[in-house]
């Protein structure tokens, strides 16, 4: 575009800018054509539903359609916040998320550190290969396996208990066991896969550091404490902050699959409640309000987590 450079008259600059842009748009027409399906996708399946959250402020009647349904303001929200169920959902979500952070979050770090200490690469590879497998199974498969092991009707564990003269335990129905099962299933499915990111961080540690530490007489534990852990510190912090940002996401499919009429009081969380009131009972507007509440709190948490990351001197995620 050399001829554009020749233009010097100020009055012509604005016009020439526009002309240049049109020329670029025309030249890149294929690129815009390629973008088109993607843009249509994002608008249709992401932005139209975002606009659809306005349902939360309406009383949606399917036969009237979105536009003709009447506005009701904050009615659905005040109904939701006034319902004792709200506190139950908040409590259940909070407990499950806390269990997840306390009992699951540290495990991939520990296993990664232990894998890193293995002397033979072959062992490491072999164990890695095995422990990644459950990550690729669907929650339906994982929960199905849990059912086959723990059901009272011929399940392995209960048969074992019975054979030893004990009394069968209603693992899958008893509300007391619900949270344990949710957490244990997550540990079983995701611990192995969770190590990957830490192992990658560990692979980047300069081996000279270890040599120098050994020269200074540091034993393995001290090497771990002073070299290995600091090397993955920022990965741990970032992942913990990300996890806090997604605090309300408690693994919808898994919980939904584990729920039954007996354990609802401990198992129902925001997402499952949206499903049962919205899809099963057809209260579209009310359940949209519940979902919107969760999305907004989630958004705030992500931004807060990002600020926190920056406070820790990390780059942040946004």
């Amino acid at each position: 575009m050399n001829e554009d450079l020749a233009i010097t008259r100020p009055s012509a600059i604005a016009g020439s800018h526009r002309k240049q842009m049109w020329r670029r748009l025309a030249r890149n027409r294929w690129l815009y054509l390629m973008l088109l399906p993607g843009i249509v996708y994002f608008i249709l399946f992401k932005y139209v539903p975002m606009y659809g959250v306005l349902l939360a402020f309406k009383n949606y009647q399917p036969f009237l359609g979105f536009l003709k349904s009447e506005w009701v303001g904050m009615e659905h929200f005040s109904r939701f916040f006034g319902d004792p169920l709200f506190w139950m959902l908040l409590k259940n979500t909070f407990i499950l998320a806390t269990y997840n952070i306390l009992f699951f979050f540290p495990l991939p770090i520990i296993v990664a550190l232990l894998l890193n200490e293995l002397r033979k690469e072959v062992y490491k590879r072999f164990i890695q290969t095995l422990i990644y497998i459950p990550h690729f199974m669907s929650w339906v498969v994982i929960v199905s396996i849990a059912y086959l092991f723990f059901t009272t009707e011929g399940g392995l564990v209960n048969e074992g208990i019975a054979a030893m003269g004990g009394e069968k335990i209603q693992f899958l129905l008893d509300p007391g066991w619900f949270r344990t099962f949710i957490t244990a299933e997550v540990i079983w499915k995701e611990t192995g896969w969770g190590t990957i990111i830490f192992l990658a961080a560990l692979a980047g540690v300069d081996t000279q550091l270890y040599e120098a530490a050994r020269m200074d007489g540091a034993n393995r534990f001290r090497q771990l404490w002073h070299i290995t852990l600091p090397a993955i510190r920022s990965t741990i912090i970032i992942l913990l902050i990300l996890r806090l940002g997604n605090f309300l996401d408690t693994g919808f499919e898994q919980i939904w699959l584990m729920l039954n009429s007996l354990n609802r009081e401990v198992g129902e969380v925001f997402d499952t409640y949206v499903y049962s009131t919205g899809i099963s009972q057809g209260q579209y507007s009310y359940s949209t309000a519940v979902g919107l509440f969760k999305s907004i709190v989630g958004l705030i948490l992500v931004f807060a987590a990002n600020q926190l990351a920056k406070r820790f001197g990390e780059e942040g995620i946004l």
Binding site: L31, F42, K46, F126, I131, Y132, P134, V140, L148, S295
Partner: protein
């Protein structure tokens, strides 16, 4: 790498390998038990309880499953949505990622922002459900293929991957008169094959495990993917969904343990078969994401 040979250090090695071995065993034994159980007779399962190798090898469970049309139909549905879905994912993702990787494109930033925002906020289950419903996709396979056609996360990573390709290649192709689609097809995609293969795998596993979108959008049991059927058979124990209900009505018996196990085996088999060969790609994909995400 560590060369100290003190007693404590060796003891740690022994304990470490034992612990990790045990962990790997806990991970894998349930699968082996399910697989062994699927080949066992109901009698042996009941008598022995835990078997890792059936003494009486039986194909009863599989014979039963393959004699019914339901399971094979669901497998067919899942295979179809896996192949078609992955194809749609990759084509749409690459088509959108390439223009966004071109720094000279006008409106690139706002479009990118539009994509990234969807990772932070979503309309949620119900508004999406209504959109899919209004589009007339209920009980259509499109409802399983289109609403998740592009993952914003994967899109951004593939875009970054495209950006890392040497610019000189594109420019020389342009001088040779290649068009933008030509450059994408003949230069960018072939050079990005490792990344594209990795993301195809992730997309494909996701489609194979399609479950909840089918619960939401597919009411017609004849169109259920295998995961939904698996839930019916094992978790809800509604054995009636297996096989022709009319033929079953009079003397219906809930499926035996071995049948349930066989259904789990069949529905996970494809992943287990390809997994060992593709394991490296899977791991690479995560790192691709963590570095540039």
């Amino acid at each position: 790498m560590v060369r100290d040979r003190t007693f404590g250090s060796r003891l740690f090695d022994v304990l470490n390998i034992t612990f990790l071995g045990l962990f790997a065993l806990i991970t894998i034994v349930p699968f082996i038990y399910i697989m062994a159980g699927s080949f066992a007779t109901q009698k042996e399962l009941l008598e022995k309880g835990f078997i890792l190798f059936p003494t009486e090898f039986s194909l009863e469970a599989y014979n039963f499953i393959f004699s019914t049309s339901t399971l094979m139909r669901s497998m067919g549905v899942t295979i179809f949505i896996t192949v078609a879905g992955t194809l749609i994912n990759i084509v749409l993702t690459c088509l959108m990622a390439y223009p966004l990787a071109r720094k000279d494109l006008d409106f690139r930033k706002p479009i990118q922002l539009m994509v990234i925002f969807t990772m932070l906020f979503s309309g949620g289950m119900i508004p999406t459900f209504i959109v899919v419903k209004e589009l007339g996709m209920i009980d259509s396979y499109w409802s399983l293929l289109l609403p998740g056609a592009i993952s914003a996360f994967n899109l951004i990573i593939i875009r970054s991957f495209f950006q890392q390709l040497p610019e000189g290649l594109e420019e020389s192709a342009k001088i040779d008169g290649a068009s933008d689609p030509g450059i994408l097809m003949r230069i960018v995609i072939p050079l990005s094959m490792p990344a594209i293969a990795t993301f195809s795998l992730f997309y494909a596993v996701g489609h194979w495990n399609t479950f909840f979108s089918a619960v939401l959008y597919i009411n017609d049991a004849a169109k259920w993917p295998i995961q939904v059927l698996l839930r019916q058979i094992v978790i809800l124990s509604q054995g009636g969904s297996l096989g022709d209900t009319t033929a079953f009505e009079s003397d219906f018996v809930p499926p035996e343990q071995s049948v349930k196990m066989a259904v789990i085996v069949i529905s996970t088999m494809p992943i287990l078969v390809v997994y060992p060969f593709l394991q490296k790609h899977f791991a690479k994909g995560v790192l691709l994401g963590s570095v540039k995400g």
